[in-house]
Symmetry: C2
């Protein structure tokens, strides 16, 4: 499903995610977008996010048992998830070529992507106890 019409709703959704550093989920995007387009519905937020992901303008960040979050940072990167506060941090560090490593071993498989997700305690949570 390609975006063929650039409505104010989709522009607003994209702006909100781009302007956020917190990897917002659909509900947070909804709240923020309402300030720009008060009449927007949650369904439209979901449809817009999906379209923007398909178009390659956003990526999804999944956290076990939580709502899908969205990230406007398109370069390949990992995420750190704080198990205490739930916050998600970008990990902008060059990692080894895992796809190459695994491709060599998984004969006949088409390995396209490696997603890396770190877990632990963030700086703030670690220091506040």
């Amino acid at each position: 499903m390609a975006i063929v019409r650039f409505t104010k709703q989709r522009q607003a959704v994209l702006e909100v995610v781009r302007g956020s550093t917190e990897h917002p989920d659909a509900a947070h995007v909804f709240d923020a977008v309402k300030q720009i387009v008060p009449s927007i519905s949650l369904g439209t937020v979901y449809r817009s996010l999906e379209a923007l992901v398909q178009e390659g303008h956003l990526i999804q960040v999944q956290q076990p048992g939580q709502a899908t979050r969205y990230d406007a940072r398109l370069e390949d990167h990992a995420h750190f998830m704080c198990d205490a506060c739930g916050e998600v941090f970008d990990v902008l560090i060059e990692l080894p070529d895992l796809v190459g490593l695994v491709s060599a071993k998984l004969e006949g498989f088409g390995v396209k992507e490696a997603r890396v997700e770190f877990h632990g305690t963030c700086r703030r949570c670690k220091h506040s106890n």
Copy 2:
């Protein structure tokens, strides 16, 4: 929540996951366990799986937008998820020490775990088109 009573339901749930190579989700476990304990309910399957995870007898495998799957293989390992058929494969390959790598860079963070998830096309799906 520790398991303080080993009921036949929990034993059956653990046996089913241990005896499966397909990383079953709660519904699949439910279907299989019914052959052993016909009266079991889905709620009990969920509670048993949760307890077994807490106790360290099972781990969870999450696939974006899909039901949580369970894995009785306890050693640290990655997973390969086929984007075509949805099947999940264990990746039993020694990977670089990502936690150490990232710990050195994320000053003040307590990095405990790195989860690695490969995506692409499995052997069967790749060869059938």
